[in-house]
């Protein structure tokens, strides 16, 4: 089992990208921190040969959903949308706002496949349903993003 520091180095940036996509840049730090602390706790009992990245993404996603639920419960109306998120490779687009406007399943599939780079089969394992449904949701999501951004 590799030292957890190596897990943080190899997968931390990727998981942070997933967190940003799921909950937006402001809450992403909290979600990432909670996810990696949970992962550190459970790490010694992770079976050998596990897909560590998929495991981390699952934990982060669960934490992200918790955060979104908590936010919905608070339901504090805000006058302005948060500052535009900075995504290095798409600096001109208000991507987070557009992502946030997608239906949850499309948002999750776009985030896991296009931002986090997981294959559709793994995305399906995370969000439920078949790989084909995940592929379709990601494609529909991207089409909707294209309509709203371009």
């Amino acid at each position: 089992m590799v030292p957890f520091e190596q897990v943080v180095r190899e997968h931390g940036p990727h998981v942070l990208r997933v967190c940003r996509a799921v909950v937006g840049p402001d809450a992403a730090d909290d979600v990432w921190s909670e996810a990696f602390l949970s992962a550190l706790r459970a790490y010694p009992s992770l079976p050998e040969g596990s897909d560590v990245r998929a495991w981390l993404v699952t934990i982060a996603r669960r934490r992200g959903v918790d955060a979104l639920r908590a936010r919905a419960r608070r339901a504090v109306p805000v006058a302005d949308l948060p500052e535009r998120g900075v995504l290095d490779d798409l600096p001109e687009l208000d991507l987070y706002a557009a992502l946030a406007a997608l239906p949850p399943k499309q948002r999750a599939c776009v985030a896991h496949h296009h931002l986090a780079g997981l294959p559709h089969a793994e995305v399906a394992a995370l969000v439920g349903g078949s790989p084909e449904a995940a592929r379709r949701a990601a494609a529909d999501g991207v089409a909707a993003l294209r309509r709203s951004l371009l």
């Binding site: 030292p3 957890f4 520091e5 180095r9 931390g12 010694p44």
Partner: protein, 190 residues
């Protein structure tokens, strides 16, 4: 996807802080520059558990710590502040003894452990031979085992295996290289 990304420092620091607060930081480590190359320092909650010269391969040492102690290993310099300070002072010739909690969990076998426990009694600036240490430990025939205990010392410098030399004046091997052993003994006897 770029691959050169790193986790932001503030997130790494927060993970270390949270891990420490929840008792999940089983092994903390950092590196320290020294006249003998970079040293790896690692500590459990009980104390300093490992000092490694670059020749041992720091990545290999970390993998060994993960396998033998716990995979909950993080780069967390805070826990090693005191050890780094005392080693700095020692290597600069300004400290003659260490005052640190030590964790000898990595010492294998009762006799090797016994040898390591005795080494700090060899005073700064003096040496003992492998044979003398064997005799002190009550097993005069175990000269070779004393050599092995020194060669596998998980805490070189702090547990002064460099003060154990061959009968007849030979230096004997050293984890940090014979040059380092000679330089340490010269520094201590200056």
């Amino acid at each position: 996807m770029t691959t050169a990304e790193t986790v932001p420092d503030h997130l790494h620091a927060r993970l270390v802080r949270d891990a420490e607060a929840q008792g999940l930081l089983d092994v903390a480590y950092r590196t320290l520059d020294s006249p003998y190359g970079p040293l790896l320092l690692a500590a459990t909650p009980r104390g300093l558990v490992r000092v490694a010269f670059a020749a041992e391969g720091h990545d290999r040492v970390l993998a060994d710590l993960a396998a033998r102690l716990s995979p909950r290993v993080l780069a967390a310099p805070g826990r090693l502040d005191a050890a780094a300070r005392e080693l700095d002072e020692y290597l600069a010739g300004r400290r003659r003894a260490f005052d640190l909690p030590l964790d000898l969990a990595l010492a294998r076998g009762a006799f090797r452990r016994e040898v390591l426990d005795r080494l700090p009694a060899i005073a700064y600036g003096t040496t003992r031979t492998y044979a003398e240490v064997a005799r002190d430990a009550g097993r005069p025939a175990a000269v070779r085992a004393v050599g092995t205990a020194c060669a596998t010392n998980p805490l070189p410098l702090v547990v002064p295996c460099h003060r154990v030399v061959r009968t007849g004046g030979g230096l004997g091997d050293y984890l940090g290289g014979t040059g380092a052993k000679r330089a340490l003994l010269a520094m201590e006897s200056a």
